[in-house]
């Protein structure tokens, strides 16, 4: 995901702002990382450049 996405995304549960934690990035994008809700602390993963903002109970783990 590109960093300008931060302008409009929010926590899907309480609609508060998210903090971005970058694990890996390339020239254009954040490839791996985490989005953390500044209010409820819920964490949303960024995997292969795609943020997963499903509510945690809808986000099953990928099969190992």
């Amino acid at each position: 995901m590109r960093e300008d996405l931060m302008d409009i995304i929010c926590c899907p549960l309480d609609k508060h702002e998210l903090d971005l934690e970058v694990i890996r990035r390339n020239d254009e994008e954040i490839m791996e990382g985490r989005l953390v809700c500044t209010e409820c602390g819920e964490e949303y993963p960024i995997e292969d450049g795609i943020p997963n903002l499903l509510p945690p109970d809808m986000r099953e783990e990928s099969p190992a």
């Binding site: 995901m1 590109r2 300008d4 996405l5 302008d7 409009i8 995304i9 929010c10 926590c11 899907p12 549960l13 609609k15 254009e28 949303y44 995997e47 292969d48 450049g49 795609i50 943020p51 997963n52 903002l53 499903l54 509510p55 809808m58 986000r59 099953e60 990928s62």
Partner: protein, 226 residues
């Protein structure tokens, strides 16, 4: 089965592209009507392969396009079909939109809205994220008047809401959206074989197939945030 699991399976079988091709026959007419201006931020809700949002980048010069889908595999496929830095895909749920209030100029959705487990909650979320004057273009082939769609839920392992045209209008209004228009967009491109080839695998009679595609086509309901 969850929406995520069902559509991850579809995506990994490559069904996202076949759907896109079939849906394009009517989706393109709906897209052509949308009042998207250069630079606008567009959401493609339940984007699947993501063709709709990409089309609005090309034809209407949309500024940023976000495709949202509950299926990570769909989002992954969609991402692989474009290099456009202005187009992004997110995994998310209709009823829990991860967007700030008024963040979206226009939202388009093709053949996905009725999978929402609570469609009223989904509409409330849309009313929240659309800026005043923003539109929701909601296109569905599965609806009450289209009798030829009534058996579809048997083939899909997730819940589907079957509203009538009137129920769509009412639900939009209950969610606080104005209804700006509604109609059925015929699919004039699908190949309909000559009468003597019926019954086919999918169709009892030619008349039924004609009715499905030419009469019922795709139901488009247009909502506008006040």
């Amino acid at each position: 089965m969850s929406v995520r699991e069902e559509f991850d399976r579809w995506a990994s079988e490559g069904r996202d592209r076949g759907m896109a091709e079939r849906h394009w026959h009517t989706a393109k007419h709906a897209l052509a009507r949308a009042p998207v201006e250069p630079g606008d931020t567009v959401l493609d809700l339940g984007c699947g392969s993501g063709y709709a949002g990409r089309a609005l980048r090309d034809t209407a010069d949309a500024g940023r396009v976000y495709g949202l889908d509950a299926s990570p595999e769909m989002a992954r496929n969609a991402r692989s079909y474009t290099d456009d830095p202005q187009v992004s895909y997110l995994v998310g749920d209709f009823e829990h939109l991860p967007f700030a209030d008024d963040a979206i100029d226009h939202c388009f959705s093709m053949e996905s809205f009725y999978y929402a487990s609570d469609p009223h909650a989904a509409l409330a979320e849309l009313a929240r994220v659309l800026r005043p004057g923003g539109t929701f273009y909601c296109a569905v082939n599965f609806y009450e008047e289209n009798v030829h769609s009534h058996h579809w839920p048997e083939k899909v392992d997730v819940g589907m809401t079957r509203w009538s045209e009137r129920e769509y209008r009412q639900a939009f209004r209950e969610a606080g959206l104005h209804v700006a228009g509604q109609d059925r967009i015929p699919d004039r491109e699908i190949t309909i074989p000559p009468a003597d080839e019926f019954p086919t695998e999918d169709w009892e009679s030619r008349d039924a197939m004609v009715e499905r595609y030419r009469t019922y086509g795709t139901l488009l309901t247009v909502g506008v945030a006040p």
